[in-house]
Amino acid sequence: MNTNDSIDVTSFFTDKLNHASVEPPASIWENVKNEIPTYPKKIGNWYIYLSAIMVIAVFTWFGIVKTKPNQPIIAKQIQQKTGTVDFSRKVINHVSNVSTNSTVMYQKKNNPTMFPSSIKKQEKVETSLYQLEASVYPSLAKVEFIDSTNTTIKSVSNPVVNEFGYYVIDISSLKHGKYTIHILCKDGKKYSKQENLR
């Protein structure tokens, strides 16, 4: 230290004392150690990860393996209803093209209520269904779809009435266009009408 230079009092004290150490009396530690709290045990991260994986595994097992095959009836109905809503919107769109007094109804998409047995099938197959009310045509023998070139494109004999009281005919193989539909009943009555099938 250069003794000829004056230094600030604060600097002198801080330089000398800032890193000073003085051994405290041993009795202080004796008092301190009795006051140290017991800290709660820390759970290791691996334990948290393992717990999370186990929870996910359990939920997955319950969610996929358990619930799906034994899906409750109400859940099934909700699912079907949801399907019906979409379906109905499509029906309404299409019905607007059909004469209002007609009893036939064209449905673009398969109706889950018609085939409740296979949900997968409904999603997969983009079939168009043609429905005829069985109460109007109680003894339906044949339905024919004739295109604009006068060619019979589809002919269905003795269609079966489904549980909802409709004859349902798959017309997915038909191209979009104008068709003449012939209905032949077992009592000899014939009906005919033209429709644009989209």
Partner: protein
């Protein structure tokens, strides 16, 4: 070491105390007017340190964190047990410096600590907080419930008193020789 302390490792807790207690005791001695008061401050500080250890966030210096606790405990302790110190309105921004000749340079840590300990409470606290802990006069004023001007005045007076003490040491040694 902190992690071990939090796992209730008694040896680690003792190690932590042994590592930091001497430095903190020196801090306590600067704040306290008597050794017994410094003992109380150190004890209270370490009890607080161990109680708040789970809240240490490892994002800064652990020693700095400890030192802040010690300073806070010291202030609380002095304010609690000491008589209310006088307020000064006068503030002089004089330059208090010394020429550290051989006698001053050879002063021991204990002698220098005693000089600070002999300061009146208010001056001692302000000097410690400003010079050693690095707080501003505004922060000190808030901590001690005084005005900024009072803090500055106390600090200025403390420096003057310490300067006098150092000059006196010099004088006494020359006279002795």
């Amino acid at each position: 070491m902190i992690e071990s302390c939090l796992r209730n490792d008694k040896a680690a807790q003792k190690l932590l105390y042994d590592r930091f207690a001497p430095k903190m005791y020196a801090v306590c001695l600067r704040y306290a007017s008597k050794r017994v008061e410094a003992d109380d401050i150190l004890q209270e500080s370490f009890i607080k340190i161990f109680h708040h250890l789970p809240h240490f966030r490892f994002d800064g210096s652990f020693e700095g964190w400890i030192r802040k606790i010690v300073a806070r405990v010291a202030i609380d302790h002095i304010q609690k047990y000491a008589s209310r110190w006088e307020e000064l309105d006068e503030y002089t921004s004089e330059d208090y410096s010394i020429v550290p000749d051989e006698a001053i340079s050879n002063l021991s840590v204990q002698e220098l600590q005693s000089m600070i300990q002999e300061l009146p409470e208010g001056k001692r606290m302000v000097f410690n907080l400003y010079a050693f802990e690095g707080y501003s006069h505004k922060e000190i004023a808030e901590m001690l419930g005084i005005s900024v001007m009072t803090s500055k005045a106390q600090y200025s007076k403390a420096k003057k008193m310490l300067q006098d003490k150092l000059l006196n040491v010099n004088k006494m040694r020359y006279e002795y020789k």
